[in-house]
Amino acid sequence: MVVEISFLRESPYFSNLSDEELNLVRKIVFEKVFERGELIALEGEPAGALYFIFSGAVKVFKTSSDGKEQIFSIVRPGDSFNDVPVFGGAPNPFSAGAMGPVVIYGIEKREFDKILRNNSQVALNVITVLASRVRHLTSLVEDLSFRPVFRRVARILLEYAGDGTGPIQRLTQQEMAALAGTAREVVARSLKALESRGALRMDHRRIVITDREVLKEAAGSSFGD
C-alpha cells in the first residue's frame, strides 16, 4: 500500500511541507506489517529506519537482566518511534513489539539523511520533535529521582486496602497513575517491583497485598505512624 500524503502531513516531521516536497518523501516510504508479538526493533541493535504507525499499537520496552519486560511507552497511529537512535546513530536503547496486528511505514536512515540535507524545514521539525522527547524524559527523570513513584504507589495501595475489614475498593492502573501524578507505565513498573519484593501479588482482577509490613516499608517509614 502506498502511503497517502494526508498521513505524512499529519506527522510533526513533515509539517509545513508543500505537496511537492511531500511527494518526494512519499517515494522513499516503505510499508511493513507485523502480527501480535512480533519484534519490530531490538534493544542494542543498530536502528536502520524511522517508523510511523499507520494502524495498531506498538510497545516500546526494555528487558531487564532477569528477563522482565518494562514498557516505557505505547505508540499509536500517527506516532513515530526509533527517532533517537536513527538521528543519534547509537544502537537502539529500546525494543519495540507489536501489541496486535500493526501496519507501519518506514523511512531508511540513509534516505532520511538525504531529506535532512536538502530540506531545512524537515531539519527544524526534527529538532522540535527531539526537543519534546527531551522534555518528556526530563519530566520522567524528575519523577523517578525526586518524587519516588514506587513509594507513592505503595502508599496508595495501603490507603485503599485499609485494614482489610471494610468493603473492597477498586482501582485501575490509570487511576493509580493519576493519584500518584505519574504515567501509567511507571505505575505498572512499580507494581512489578513491589511484587518482586514480596509486598503483593498480581492475581488477575486483584492486587493482593501479601505482606503489609514490606509494603509499609516501601511506602516510607512515616506512613501509618
Binding site: R36, S55, G56, A57, I71, I74, R76, P77, M99, G100, P101, V102, L157, Y160, A161, D163, G164, I168, Q169, R170, L171, T172, Q173, Q174, E175, R184, E185, A188, H204, R205, R206, I207, V208, I209, T210, R212
Partner: protein, 70 residues
Amino acid sequence: MVRMPVLDLGKCNCCGLCVSVCYCNALVVINEVVTVVQTEECGWCTECEAVCPTGAISCPFDIVIEDQVR
C-alpha cells in the same frame, strides 16, 4: 458471571486499538461500536486499557489483603 473490562461509550472514539490488541476476543466491533464480550479467556492483561487513547476502557483491580481473600 466473569468480571470484564469496563467500557465508557461516551469516551470511546471507536479507533479499534483495544480490539486489535485483545488476544482473547473479549472485545469486538459490532455495528461500528466496540463491545465487550463475556469470556472466561480474559486474563486481565490490561493491554486494552493501556492502548486506549481516550481512557474509554478500564480494568479495575480489587485491592485486597491476603487474609481477606482466604
